[in-house]
């Protein structure tokens, strides 16, 4: 198979065999759901319900008057029992709407879209439809989808790339969706193509998923628009937007720019699936598929869960933990976030939960200048140098050495034989640079 890729990157073991062949199971509605008001990149939400309100599944419960945001919907029917501070998988804690499940199946289906009419809809209508459905990127960054497909005046979107790379080890939820529900992905793809105005559609998939590539090859001729399947070399971070574009189109997103600047919009495969499902079923984004894996969970699974499900409820459904549980990570092991509480809810950007019996720490040595970090950095940076500058608080120099280009993929720290927390140090430099430029900016 001829595959495309980008320079740099690393080859961690994929650990995907743990869940790759497990069909998606449906996690039953728990008794309580917790929906944080921060779900995505952009403006935080404000509740439009209050304590004691009864809500239906699919009913809007939070929104805000801003462009870069997406509303939140009740993922089951029930009663708002409180709006309170709750554990958040990314922010530590934040305000959340707590919903008691009443066990009824009352639903509000407002968003169906006639499938045969997709190509006749106005792009602007589709964008609003996406926003109303609360659609955000489900690959992790959770950027509102309607914003992505709205090119600013003067810019054109030529290519739509569907990101099926799923380059993070352990995660297999996207892979399962492509195998089990490709027709919904097909519908989502048509909507995204229409909404963004893209004339060419490409699907990027890593070559460690040959059955997925075969499924696409078989399926794509049935779509009303031409879709190109692009096998990619299995390499981390192949699923990073910038590197997907670099691999598939040989274009580089300018420093500080967006895929839009090179005429591209990238959408994750699960986002595309969720859009297709919203069109078919009329329900907004209220559940998603996650991978539960790692050596400290008894029954690793791919699970369809309502947004707001608590980790402590998901664990028993997966057979409980296998002691000694040392570490829990939300997301993939390369970019995911370690959790301090098992009471965190699934949010829109949750691609999985990983349970580890070991903490994977390396003994720290001084930097031996081995250049492994340099060779693995997909952004052509010198991570060891940036980390050094950060340690010495030389943030201006770090800026000149392009610290802001770092995508925090972790490839450098994964490779470093000296166990240096490179990403942590570079992140620190980045936030200091941004802070001082804000201060100096006005």
């Amino acid at each position: 198979m001829k595959t495309k890729t980008f320079p740099g990157g690393v080859h961690p073991p994929t650990y995907k065999e743990i869940t790759a062949h497990k069909q998606i199971e449906v996690f039953p509605f728990p008794e309580r759901l917790v929906l944080p008001l921060i779900q995505h990149t952009g403006a935080p939400l404000e509740p439009i319900v209050k304590k004691g309100d009864a809500v239906k599944r699919g009913q809007k419960i939070a929104d805000v008057d801003a462009f870069v945001t997406a509303p939140l919907h009740a993922s089951c029917s029930g009663k708002i029992s409180s709006i309170e501070e709750w554990f958040h998988p990314v922010r530590g804690k934040c305000l959340a709407i707590v919903l008691e499940n009443d066990g009824s199946s009352e639903e509000e289906r407002r968003n169906p879209l006639p499938i045969s009419e997709i190509e006749n809809q106005q792009p602007q209508f589709l964008r609003e439809w996406l926003r109303e459905g609360g659609m955000v990127g489900l690959g992790g960054a959770a950027f509102p989808t309607h914003v992505k497909v709205s090119p600013p005046a003067g810019k054109n979107i030529e290519f739509l790339i569907i990101n099926g790379a799923e380059c993070e080890p352990y995660l297999t939820c996207d892979q399962r969706l492509m195998l089990e529900e490709i027709s919904k992905i097909g519908i989502g793809l048509r909507i995204l193509a229409r909404a963004s105005g893209a004339s060419r559609v490409l699907v990027g998939i890593e070559d460690n998923k040959p059955e997925v590539i075969a499924r696409w090859e078989e399926f794509s001729p049935h779509l009303p628009l031409p879709v190109e399947i692009v096998p990619l070399k299995t390499k981390y971070p192949q699923g990073s937007e910038k590197h997907l574009i670099r691999a598939i189109l040989n274009r580089e997103v300018p420093s500080g720019g967006l895929p839009l600047d090179v005429g591209v919009v990238v959408n994750n495969v699960q986002t595309t699936w969720a859009i297709g499902r919203m069109a078919e079923e009329g329900l907004p984004l209220i559940d998603r598929v996650i991978t539960v894996s790692g050596d400290a969970i008894a029954q690793p699974k791919n699970l369809k869960v309502p947004i707001g499900s608590l980790l402590e409820d998901i664990i028993p459904f997966c057979g409980g933990v296998r002691e000694p549980l040392k570490k829990v990570v939300m997301g993939g092991p390369m970019m995911g976030i370690a959790q301090v509480s098992l009471s965190v809810p699934v949010i829109k950007g949750t691609s999985g939960f990983l349970f580890f019996q070991s903490v994977w720490e390396k003994k720290e040595y001084p930097c031996i200048r081995c250049a492994r970090c340099v060779n693995s950095c997909p952004m052509n940076l010198i991570p060891s140098w940036l980390a050094r500058l950060s340690e010495f608080e030389a943030f201006e120099e770090a800026k000149a050495a392009r610290a802001l280009d770092c995508i925090e993929c972790g490839a450098c720290a994964y490779q470093c034989p000296a166990g240096i927390p490179l990403v942590q140090l570079i992140k620190l430099a980045k936030s200091e640079i941004i802070r001082s430029s804000r201060k100096g900016g006005d």
């Binding site: 300018p254 420093s255 829990v328 390369m334 903490v359 031996i368 140098w385």
Partner: protein, 324 residues
Amino acid sequence: MAEEELYFSPSPHIKSKTTVPWVMRQVFLALLPAAVGSGYFFGFRYVFPSILISILACLGFETLDCLIFKKPLTIYDGSALVTGMLLGLSLPPGSPFWIALVGSGAAIILGKQMFGGLGQNIFNPALVGRAVLLISWPKAMTTWMARPPFALLPGAEGAEVVTTATPLTINQMNGFPFLQELDPQILKHLFLGQVPGSIGETSVLLLLLGFLYLLWRGVVSWHIPLTFFGGLSLVVLLGGESLFFHLLAGGAIMGGCFMATDYVTSPMTRRGQLIFGLGAGAITGIIRLLGNYPEGVTFGILIMNATVPLLDRILPPQFGGEKR
């Protein structure tokens, strides 16, 4: 389990298996064939004391330094082991024991610890040790032994060992044709290692074996060695001397494959590495052809070591270029 026990740390949450001691072990292993082979070429009692003393003294000096300055003991990182091995292999066979001792002191104390220890030094510690010895005791450092079955034996039938000149010296003084007359199969002997020279530097075959192992293990890349040999070749060809001879003779292979590739003292970017290798190889050639010393590897690499901080400031091309 109690939640308070959940371990928090920044991403990434998985790490490669490569560690600093692992890397050092690989380099040490890669040098073993040459070390063992030297016993075969020169006689075990003429080489092993030097190698052993170098290694033990390097570990000892580092321990001492850590004790005196109350630093945590660092010898387990394996770098002193490698320095000791490299230094031992670069000494003349049969050299007095204090040569190895003094060389180790210079390598570890002057070459590494004074700069702040592992990762901080500018110059390759083993080469610093060797350079100090070369300058201070030129005679001891350029007295070469040979023994049967070497072809380059100046009429010494019956003697177990004799002192002689290295092929590089003969080449410099009398020219290559003369050398070829002395030993018509000189290139073959250089390749196998049956020539006078430093303990571990004579056998191209065994050194390349070790180098291939490092390549396979991903410990080194081809960039520095290839450009090193490129730079050397360029100068040799311009000077009109025998290319193969210069690539095989003296410390060229040891220098290009093991000394110039030292992580700490070579550049981190690909571009820097190419310039560094080219420079070190070219300077080696220039010293060999025009200098007083028949061998130029030590100073060729040391000089380029000094340029590394500069070379490291050449950033790789920016992904996506400037903001449009």
